[in-house]
Symmetry: C2
Subunit: 324 residues, 2 copies
Amino acid sequence: MGEFDLIARYFARPAKRSPLGPGDDCALLAPAPGMQLAVSSDMLVEGRHFLSTVDPARLGHKALAVNLSDLAACGAKPLAFTLALSLPTVDESWLAGFSQGLFALADAHDCELVGGDTTRGPLNICITVFGEVPAGAALLRSGARAGEDIWVSGTLGDARLALEAFRGTLSLPAALFAQARARMESPTPRVTLGHALRGIASAAVDVSDGMLGDLGHILRASEIGARIDADAAVTCIGVSTDPDFAAAALPIEILRLCALSGGDDYELVFTAPASAREAVAQAARSAATAVTRIGQTERDAGLRLVDAQGAPITQRFDSFDHFA
Amino acid sequence: MGEFDLIARYFARPAKRSPLGPGDDCALLAPAPGMQLAVSSDMLVEGRHFLSTVDPARLGHKALAVNLSDLAACGAKPLAFTLALSLPTVDESWLAGFSQGLFALADAHDCELVGGDTTRGPLNICITVFGEVPAGAALLRSGARAGEDIWVSGTLGDARLALEAFRGTLSLPAALFAQARARMESPTPRVTLGHALRGIASAAVDVSDGMLGDLGHILRASEIGARIDADAAVTCIGVSTDPDFAAAALPIEILRLCALSGGDDYELVFTAPASAREAVAQAARSAATAVTRIGQTERDAGLRLVDAQGAPITQRFDSFDHFA
């Protein structure tokens, strides 16, 4: 199968909304009047962002999900994406699975593939996503003020628990491992929540490299600090609510590591004034997404970690760095 | 050096025109009222699109040039780009060269880097470029009519000559090899010409996989055929005008192969009615770019190749396919 057949069979679909979709030199996008276009690119590499054993449908889902998560963190509504794909071989069953997972998520968010590139080479997936946000309404990292609440959406740490189980550094009951693995391989971008938080959250970021590290981007951009309740973050671990979880008897240090700096969560961390608590709760209900309050912003720079009793925690947490 | 230091040292520059540049979850772009955004993505892989020996500054130039060439083929004015980069190691001298070559071309076209991604992995460069074009004014592949002129910009075939010299299948005098190699490693995107051809050309495509193959996209999209003067295309080989070229005594079959299906040219092939010849010449002068008339479109589908005397040529030419 040649390059153009491959594109035609697995990736070509008629453009619905874009003035010009795949198949010309460029795609054409026309944002509505008064709208800005939010743009983000993520590149996924085998062995770094996914294991070679991953189900291709889950990988197709994840490749787009991590990009939609960036739109969510800006409060932007997904419009379109481009896909550049480097493939070692033409494996039709892989392509069928990958494109099925990719388009299932794309269709769920009404986000259309408008162009891209395919080449032969080590497996690499690069998606650039486009969303729409009214001028001036995007959620930024720089809008937080001291004395605000710090919230996190959904669950934290499950992806890292699954990764550590894959690495053999810990062991999980089979059902919990499957649950955690699904969170690692098939994250849920919080697009609806991000959209609902426009005008409510003062700042937002998506959690990809680890919660504390990503929160750090808000703190630096907003020139403030924070106090985080590590044990409130640990309660966000999805599998921790399972009755079988206690039997795994994982040390609290491991749980804190996974929740606070696990990485690959694709949740939102955001700040909002205390006066907006009911509005945040309403936004969360409207998006059918749980949110948990895990700390407060403070005037003094830096991050202060405390346990459920307010006692300082000295354990160190590094966020993920591809080159560290 | 960590990931964020790497970005800060080599790629972070203040946003000039975009409402929000690198450093948040998304970049924000605001096309002017009435403008559409033209978008294109290209992925470059070592060993497929460039040799490991390439000068990193030339590679930085080329990675953006191949994307700008897609904007040129639409007649769009460059605005911004994202860069996703997978690097096997942090090689500071490579990064310094790559970013210098990249930004030199970006600055020449007033095209700003607004975001991206960096990761560790096999060397892979994925750029997504954004340009602006008035609604309805983009040059498409589908606008050609039978009986029009077929034109090509600049030079054809030099990149392929250099590649074949690298492969050892032919030999070129050193000065000619250097000239051809520069065309392969440092192509000139025809942005100014593409812009000048809006309203004049009926269809356009950029030449990346080989001229005949890329012209084929216009023919299929426009449901027409063409007659091409292969020897007129051969006169477009840049090094063929050098006095030392005759000494290389390359067979005409090789020259035709390089000119007609060489690939990596990043020139424009475009169609225009015969009544627009003076307008085409004027656009070419205004863009300081040579153009050569190499054939005519015809009602009958398919491609008919003739020599300078009008006799049919039976040599077959395949365009480049990453998976063929």
